[in-house]
C-alpha cells in the first residue's frame, strides 16, 4: 500500500502558483515545496508540471534543480519524475558509475511489472537515444552481463497460470546449478529471465519443499564473486520484493555514513506502491519504526521530504 497522503481535492493550477511563489525571491521555501509535492501522486505531479509550464513557460523540474541542493535536490528530482522516467534515470545513473551498480539494475528489472519495465525501456530510449539493453551490454562484461541484459529485456507473461511439472523440473535444474557452483549455467539465466513471476514463485517454493532451505542460502551475499551476488539479488527480488527492499533500507541506514542513494531510491520508488508493507517488515525486524530510524540518520529538508513520503502528516 502507498504511504503518501494525498488530499481529496487538488488544483494543479493552484499548486503550480504556490510552487512558483515558493521559488521566487531570495530564498526558497522548501517546506512549502515538500508540503505540496510530497502530497501528490504521479498523475497529479504530472498535471502540476504541465500547469507550471503553461503558466510560466518554464520547466518546473529545471526550476527546482536550480533552487535546491544536495540530497534534498536529488530526492525531489527523482520524486517529481514519472515513475517510468524515474526508473530510466536511476538505471542510467547505475550503469554510468565507474563500477556499474548491478543491484539497481536487478532491482528495477525484477521488481517492476512487465508493463512497467516496458515503460522504463521506452522512457530510457526517449531520454538517452539508446536502448536500455545496449547500454547495459556496453558497460558490463562476462557472465554478469548475460544475466543483466536478459533481465532488462524480459517481457514476462503476467498471468496466474502455473505449470507444476515445470516448477518441479526447474527447481531441480536450479538445485544442480547451485550445488555444482555452476552459477553461469545458461539454464539459471534462462529460468530467471524468461519465466513469469508466478511460475518462478512456484519453482522457488518447490525448491524449498524439496531441500528445506531457500536457494539464496547457497548463494552467500558476501561472496567476492559478482555473479553470485547478482544472482542472489535477482532471486530475492523475484521471490519477495518487499523483504528485499526492507534489507536495502536496513543496510542503507546501518552504514556509518548513510547510503542516501539507496535510501532515497527505495522510499521514492515505493512510496506509491508498497512502502507501508515494507515499513511493517522493517518495524518487525528492527524493533524500531522506519520513520524513527530515518529521522535519526538524516537531517534538514532531505529528512523532511523522506518523512513526508513515509506518511508523516503535516
Amino acid at each position: 500500500m502507498a504511504t503518501i497522503h494525498v488530499p481529496n481535492q487538488v488544483s494543479a493550477i493552484e499548486d503550480a502558483e504556490s510552487l512558483r511563489k515558493a521559488c521566487k525571491g531570495w530564498g526558497t521555501d522548501e517546506k512549502a515545496i515538500i508540503s505540496i509535492l510530497g502530497h501528490r501522486n504521479a498523475a497529479q505531479r504530472k498535471q502540476i508540471r504541465l500547469a507550471y509550464e503553461e503558466l510560466y513557460q518554464e520547466d518546473l523540474i529545471k526550476r527546482l534543480e536550480s533552487e535546491l541542493t544536495g540530497d534534498f535536490e536529488r530526492a525531489m528530482y527523482r520524486w517529481i519524475l514519472d515513475p517510468a522516467d524515474r526508473d530510466a534515470v536511476l538505471a542510467n545513473v547505475a550503469i554510468k558509475k565507474s563500477s556499474p551498480d548491478h543491484a539497481v539494475i536487478i532491482e528495477i528489472s525484477c521488481t517492476r511489472s512487465p508493463e512497467e519495465l516496458l515503460a522504463v525501456r521506452r522512457a530510457y530510449q526517449a531520454r538517452y537515444k539508446r536502448s536500455l539493453e545496449e547500454d547495459v551490454a556496453a558497460h558490463t562484461k562476462g557472465d554478469v552481463r548475460k544475466l543483466l541484459v536478459a533481465l532488462v529485456s524480459a517481457f514476462r507473461y503476467d498471468g496466474e497460470e502455473i505449470d507444476t511439472r515445470l516448477s518441479n523440473s526447474e527447481a531441480k535444474i536450479l538445485h544442480e546449478a547451485v550445488k555444482d557452483k555452476a552459477f553461469n549455467h545458461e539454464e539459471v539465466v534462462r529460468i530467471l529471465s524468461t519465466r513469469s513471476k508466478m511460475q518462478l514463485l512456484a519453482t522457488f517454493n518447490r525448491y524449498r519443499d524439496d531441500h528445506g532451505t531457500s536457494i539464496t542460502k547457497n548463494l552467500p551475499g558476501d561472496s567476492g564473486n559478482e555473479l553470485v551476488v547478482a544472482l542472489r539479488a535477482a532471486f530475492r527480488c523475484l521471490n519477495d520484493p518487499k523483504k528485499y527492499f526492507e534489507k536495502v533500507l536496513r543496510n542503507s541506514i546501518k552504514r556509518i555514513g548513510t547510503d542516501e542513494d539507496a535510501l532515497t531510491r527505495v522510499i521514492v520508488t515505493r512510496a506509491e506502491k508498497d512502502l507501508k508493507e515494507i515499513k511493517d517488515i522493517y518495524h518487525k525486524r528492527n524493533s524500531v519504526p522506519l520513520d524513527q530510524a530515518v529521522a535519526k540518520d538524516t537531517s534538514g529538508d532531505y529528512k523532511a521530504l523522506l518523512l513526508t513520503l513515509l506518511g508523516k502528516e503535516d
Binding site: 530510449q125 536502448s131 545496449e134 551490454a137 548475460k146 529485456s153 524480459a154 529471465s193 513469469s196
Partner: protein, 306 residues
C-alpha cells in the same frame, strides 16, 4: 474436350504454386464417368496403376496437392489476422517445427519495428499463456538459443542518432570474431550476439559500412554458411536483399513446401517493401496460378493504388 487437351489442362491446373480452380471446374466437374477413367489412366502425376491393373491414387502426390489448395485459404487468413497475432502464431509454429524453421523467428524479430515486435510478444502472452522468450529458451537447444532469445527480446532504439566511433569499434569486434571463426563459432561469440541484438538498425547499418571498409567484404558475405547469423545481419541491415532472396527461393523450380509457404508470409507481411520492387509481379506471373495468384497480385496492387 479431347483427352490430350483435358490431360494438359489438368496438368496445367496443378502446376505452379496454387491451383487453377476455374480450369478444374470446367475439366473435372462435368467429366463423364468414361472421361474420368481415361483421366486416371493418363494422368500419372496423381494416379498409378498397381499390380492388379487398378488405377489407384498416389497418396503422397495428393497430399502435396492439399498444400496447393490450402494456399489461398492460408493467405486470406494470414492477411486478416491482426499483425501481432499473426506474428505470434508464426513464431509459435516455427518453434514447434524446429531448427529448419528458426529462420522465420529471425525474420520476424529483425524485420519488425520495435513496437510491432513488442505487440507480437504481448499477443503471444494472450494466445499461449507464456512468453516467447520462455518457449524459445526451453525448446531451442545449442548456440541458436542465445541468438534467438536475444533477438526476440530486443526493444531497439529507433531514432537516427548513431555514434560512429562506437560503430567503428564494434565493426572491429565483429571482424575479430569472424577471423577467429576456426577457434570459436561466431554465433557463440557473446559480444557479437550483444551487438546484433541490442544496437539500433541505423547503428548496425553504419557498422556494416565500417566493416566493409575494414575487410573489403560485407558482413553478409562473411557470414555465408552461418545460417541464422547471416539472416540476422541481412534482415537488420538490408531487408530488401533478404526478402528478395526468400521470394526468389520460393519461386524457384526446386522450392520445397516450407520455401513456398514463405511466399505467402513475405507478401502478406512485407507488402510495402515488395511493391517498391517493380519486378515482383512479373516474377509471380508465370509461376502462381488460380485464386492464390489473384490474391497475391491483388495484395501487391492494393499498395500501389494507395
Amino acid at each position: 474436350m479431347a483427352l490430350p487437351d483435358v490431360l494438359e489442362a489438368l496438368n496445367k491446373a496443378f502446376s505452379g504454386i496454387g491451383v487453377d480452380e476455374n480450369s478444374l471446374i470446367s475439366v473435372v466437374a462435368n467429366s463423364s464417368h468414361e472421361h474420368k477413367k481415361s483421366l486416371r489412366k493418363g494422368f500419372s502425376k496423381l494416379f498409378i496403376e498397381d499390380e492388379n491393373g487398378f488405377e489407384r491414387s498416389d497418396q503422397s502426390a495428393i497430399k502435396n496437392l492439399k498444400f496447393e489448395f490450402k494456399r489461398f485459404r492460408d493467405a486470406v487468413i494470414l492477411s486478416l489476422l491482426h499483425p501481432w497475432e499473426r506474428d505470434a502464431r508464426l513464431i509459435e509454429k516455427a518453434i514447434k517445427k524446429g531448427p529448419k524453421q528458426y529462420g522465420v523467428i529471425v525474420e520476424i524479430a529483425c524485420s519488425r519495428s520495435s513496437n510491432e515486435l513488442l505487440g507480437a510478444r504481448k499477443a503471444y502472452h494472450s494466445l499461449f499463456d507464456r512468453s516467447i522468450e520462455e518457449d524459445l529458451a526451453s525448446h531451442v537447444k545449442g548456440s541458436e538459443r542465445k541468438l534467438l532469445v536475444a533477438l526476440v527480446s530486443a526493444y531497439r532504439y529507433e531514432g537516427p542518432k548513431v555514434n560512429e566511433d562506437v560503430a567503428k569499434s564494434e565493426a572491429e569486434i565483429l571482424s575479430n570474431a569472424i577471423k577467429n571463426a576456426h577457434k570459436r563459432k561466431p554465433i557463440e561469440d557473446e559480444d557479437l550476439i550483444m551487438i546484433l541484438s541490442t544496437r539500433s538498425k541505423p547503428h548496425l547499418q553504419a557498422l556494416n559500412e565500417h566493416y566493409n571498409k575494414i575487410c573489403q567484404k560485407s558482413l553478409t558475405q562473411e557470414l555465408e554458411g552461418e545460417g541464422n547469423l547471416k539472416d540476422t545481419v541481412e534482415c537488420l541491415c538490408t531487408p530488401e536483399t533478404y526478402f528478395t532472396r526468400v521470394l526468389d527461393s520460393a519461386l524457384s523450380a526446386d522450392a520445397d513446401e516450407e520455401s513456398k509457404r514463405a511466399l505467402t508470409r513475405v507478401v502478406v507481411t512485407q507488402k510495402e517493401l515488395l511493391v517498391k520492387d517493380g519486378s515482383v509481379p512479373n516474377k509471380i506471373e508465370g509461376i502462381l496460378t488460380g485464386a492464390y495468384k489473384d490474391f497475391i497480385l491483388g495484395s501487391l496492387a492494393r499498395e500501389e493504388n494507395k
